[in-house]
Amino acid sequence: MTGTEPTSTEPTGHTGLRARFRVDRPGFSLDLNLRVFPGTVTAIVGPNGAGKSTALRVLAGLVLPATARVSLNGRVLEDSATGVWRPPADREIGVVFQDYLLFPHLTARDNVAFGLRARGTPKARAAQLAEDWLDRLGIGHRSDALPRQLSGGQAQRVALARALILEPKLLLLDEPLAAIDAELRVAVRAQLAESLHDFGGATVLVTHDPIDAMLLADELIVLESGRITQLGSPLAVAATPATDYVARLVGLNLLRRASGTVTFAPPECRLSRSQPDDSAAVACTVRGVEQLGGRLRVHLATMDTSGSVGYDAHPNDPAPPGQLLIAEVSLQSLFELRPVAPGPDTSAAFAKAGLLATGQPVWLSTNYPDGDKSESRES
Amino acid sequence: MRRALVGLSSRSQKLRRLPGSVLSMVLLPVVLVALVGCSAAASAPESSVKNTEASADPSSNPALSGTIVVDAAASLTGSFTAIASAFKALHPDVTVTLNFGSSAALASAIVAGAPVDVFAAASATTMATVTTAGLTATPPKVFARNSLEIAVPPGNPGKVSGIRDFGDSAKKIALCAPQVPCGAAAAIAFAAAGVTPAPSTLEQDVKAALTKVQLGEVDAAMVYRTDVIAAGSKVIGIEFAESAKAVTSYPIAPVTKRANSASAAAFAAFVLTPAAQTILANAGFQAP
C-alpha cells in the first residue's frame, strides 16, 4: 500500500487525484504537485505556516490558486489554462475541517443529512441514511445530540459521516486529531484509520503530528515553506530524513559533514567536556537543557571551530556550524563528569555548577561514528 | 437681523416643547416666508413708536428692566416676534424671551410651574386652565380675534369652493384634531353650516394641517386666516360665511408670582396698543 505504484489495470492517468498548483501570497508561495490513488491516504506534514491547510483549501475549491490543474478520476476540477473552475459543491469531495465545524444549531443526524438535503433528498430518506452512517461509525446513539453535547471523538465521527455520506471521490482531512484529548487519541486514531481503510476513494490528510501521519498514511509529503522537501512511504521518510525538520519530526538528529550526512537518535549520544578519542566527535555549544524523566535532553548547536585554538577537531571531516542537534543522556553519565548532589531540579543544579550552561562548549560523540543509518537502539 | 435671530431661537425652544410643530422648521420655504413676514410686519411699529410714547400708557414706563418670558400660541409666532421687537425699542433694558407652542401644552406647563411671565393663548378655554389655577395676575384681556378660512393648494386641484366640499369623501381633507383649538373652532363652523366633514387626517396643530396643503397632499384644510396670510403664495385662502360663527379670541394675561411683574404687565398692556394692534392686523388678526 505504498500508493506510488498503481495496482489496478485502470488507465493510470484517470484514477485518483492529480493536482499541481501554485498559490501566491505576500511573502509566501505554495507550490505543490501531488498524486493520490483511490484507496490510499496521503498525509501532508509540515511545520506551522508551511501551507498545509492552504493546500487542502485549494483542493476543496475554497482558495483560488494562481495557477492550477486539478483532476479527480480524470474529471478536471480546475485548470487555469482553460479557465475551468468547479465550485466546492461540484467537486465530489468530502472535507473534515479542523475543529470539525459541525453546524451548532443542527443535531448530529441533521449535520450528517445536510449534504443530502442540500441536494434535494427527501427529509425522511436523508435522515434514515444519516442514521445508517452514524450507526456504521458507532455513534448512532448520539444522533439527537447537538454538537456542543458531543465529545471530541464523537464530533470527529459525525464530521466524517457528514463528509462520507455523499460518497465523495476525494476525502480531505484537516488536522483530524488535533482536537482530541491526548488520552483518547490512540483509540480515536485507530477508529479513524479503520474508517479511512473502508473508504474507497483518495484521501489527503493534513497534520502537524508525525505519529498521526505515520500511522494513518500510505504516503507522506513533507511541506516546508510552501515547497515539498521530501516524499515517500512513512518508513522511507522515517529512515532517511532529508531535512532537519523531517529528522526532528521522526526524532532523529541530522548532521551534515564534509563526508556526508549522518542520522542518529538522541539516546545514541554521549557528551564530554574534553575532546574524546573518538575522531568523529563534534564540538558543540549548549543551547538549553530540559529534564525528561530520569534523563536530560540537551539542545546543542555545532560550533564554529575555524580558527579556534584547542578545537581543531575533525579537520578532515568538518561539520558546518549552527546545525541543531539533540542529545539525550542519563543523569549518571553527567555525574561521572562532575558529581553534584541529585535534587528535585537537577538540570538547574548543573547549570549553576557551570556544567551545561547555555553557550558552554561540549563534545558530542555517537555510538555510530561512521554515521550509520539509525535504527535507534538504546545505548 | 436681530429679529431673525429672535425668530429662530424661539423656534428652537418650540422644538423642545412640541416635537410635532417642528414641521414648519423643516420646510425651508415656510421658514423663509415666516422671516420675511415678520420683518415686513415689523416695519410698522418703528413709525408708530412716537405715538405710543405720547399716549403715556403703562408700557412706556422707562424704569422697566430685566427679563420676561412670554409664552404665546404657535399662531402668534410671526406677530409676537415683531411685537417683542417693538416693545424692546421702547424698553431697551427689558429682554423678552419668546416661547411658542400649542396653547394647551403651554397652559399645562404654566400650571406645572414653568417660569413664565406672560401668557397669550389661542382660546379662552386654554387661558381658563391658567386662570382656574389662580395663576393670572390680572384678568385676561382679549387682544385679537382670528377666524377660520379654507386653505387650498395653488391651482385648487380639488376644486374646492366652500365649506360644503368638506363633506365630500372623494376629496382629501385635513382638519385640526378636535382636541386642539383650531379643530374645536372648525367643529362649530361645520355645525353652523350643517356639514358633516369627511377628513382624511386630524392634524395635531394648525401648522401641520397647513403643511399638508402646501405639499399638495390634501385638497383643502380648515385653518386660521392668519395662517393663510403667513403662508403667502404657497396656499390660497377661501373665505366662507359660517366662519363668523366660530371666531377664536386670543386672551393675554401676566402670570402671578413672578419677580418681574411690572415688565410683564407692561408687555401684556403693550399688546393692546395701536402699534401692536397694527402688527396683528397685518398678520390677519381682527381687532378684539
Partner: protein, 288 residues
C-alpha cells in the same frame, strides 16, 4: 499532554461552553456600580413618575373608551408589519453591508451612512421626506397616483411605511454586526457539502445569526411601536386608520392628560409584555 489542558485545542466541546466558572472573580468592578445604578434610575424613574400620575379611580372608564382599543390594535398591527418588512428587506441589506469586503471603503462608508440616516434624522423630517417621495405630488408618489390611483398618505400602509423607515436601521445594524461576528467557515463547510448559496443562507447563515436578528427585530419592533413624528407627518392622524397609540396619547395630552397617562400606561404594558415574551420564545427557539 499539555495539548489537552489548553482550551482552544480541545475544540468544539469547550468552544460552545463559553460562560461558566471562569467568570467568577472577574465581575463588575466596584467603580462601575454607581453609574450603572444611576443609569438604570435615569431610565426607570420617568416611567415611575408617569405611573404615579395614572388616575387609578377612573382607569376602568378611561380604558373602556373604544378609541384606546382601536389605537392599540392599529399600533400592534403596524409595528408588526413594519418589523416584518424590516426583516424581509433589512436582512439582505445587512448581508450586503457585512459582505461587501471587495467594495471600496468609501462606498461602504457611504452605504452605512445612508442606512444610519433615519436614526439621526428627526422623525418629523423623515415624515416630510416620505411625503416628498411618496406623497401624491412626491417624486414617486405622483406616478403611483397617476398610474395606479394609489395615494399612500393618510392610510394604514403609510403608518407601516413611516415606522419601517424609522425602525429598519436598528435591525440592519444589529444583523450586520451579527454577520460580521459569524464564523464564515461554517458556510464554507456547507459549500463543500454541495449546498447552494441560497440554501447555505437559509439553513446555516440565518440560524447562526439568529440571536442578532432577534435582538434587531426586538429593537425594531420597539422603535416602531413608539413611533410618533414620522407617522403623524406622513400618515396623518385619523382614528382607526392612522391613529396609533403614541398619536392618541399626544392628542389626549391637549385636553385630557389623564387619558394620555392611561394610554401611555397601556402602551408601556403592552410593549413590555410583547418584547419580553417574543424574546423568550425566539431565544428558546434558537437554542433548543
Amino acid at each position: 499532554m499539555r495539548v489537552s489542558k489548553h482550551p482552544s485545542r480541545v475544540g468544539t466541546r469547550v468552544r460552545f461552553a463559553v460562560s461558566g466558572p471562569e467568570d467568577h472573580g472577574v465581575g463588575l468592578p466596584g467603580v462601575l456600580w454607581l453609574p450603572a445604578i444611576l443609569a438604570l434610575a435615569f431610565l426607570a424613574l420617568p416611567l415611575v413618575a408617569l405611573i404615579t400620575r395614572v388616575p387609578w379611580a377612573t382607569l376602568p372608564t378611561l380604558l373602556a373608551a373604544p378609541e384606546i382599543g382601536t389605537a392599540l390594535g392599529l399600533s400592534l398591527l403596524s409595528a408588526s408589519l413594519a418589523t416584518l418588512l424590516s426583516l424581509i428587506f433589512g436582512i439582505p441589506l445587512a448581508w450586503f453591508l457585512a459582505r461587501s469586503g471587495r467594495w471600496p471603503p468609501a462606498v461602504r462608508r457611504l452605504l452605512r451612512a445612508v442606512v444610519t440616516v433615519p436614526l439621526v434624522l428627526p422623525p418629523v423630517v423623515g415624515g416630510v421626506a416620505l411625503l416628498l417621495l411618496l406623497g401624491r405630488r412626491g417624486l414617486i408618489g405622483q406616478y403611483l397616483n397617476a398610474w395606479f390611483g394609489l395615494q399612500l398618505p393618510f392610510s394604514t400602509a403609510a403608518v407601516v411605511i413611516a415606522e419601517t423607515f424609522v425602525a429598519m436601521p436598528f435591525l440592519v445594524l444589529a444583523v450586520e454586526g451579527a454577520l460580521r461576528g459569524a464564523d464564515r467557515r461554517f458556510e464554507q463547510a456547507a459549500a463543500t457539502l454541495g449546498a447552494s448559496r441560497w440554501y447555505i443562507f437559509r439553513r446555516i447563515t440565518l440560524p447562526l445569526i439568529a440571536p442578532g436578528v432577534t435582538a434587531g427585530a426586538v429593537l425594531c419592533f420597539a422603535r416602531a411601536l413608539g413611533e410618533f413624528g414620522a407617522t403623524i407627518t406622513f400618515a396623518g392622524n385619523f382614528p382607526g386608520t392612522t391613529q396609533t397609540m403614541p398619536l392618541a396619547a399626544y392628542l389626549a395630552l391637549e385636553t385630557n392628560p389623564d387619558a394620555a397617562y392611561v394610554i401611555s400606561l397601556v402602551l408601556l404594558a403592552v410593549a413590555i409584555t410583547v418584547l419580553f415574551s417574543l424574546r423568550e420564545r425566539w431565544i428558546r427557539g434558537v437554542s433548543a
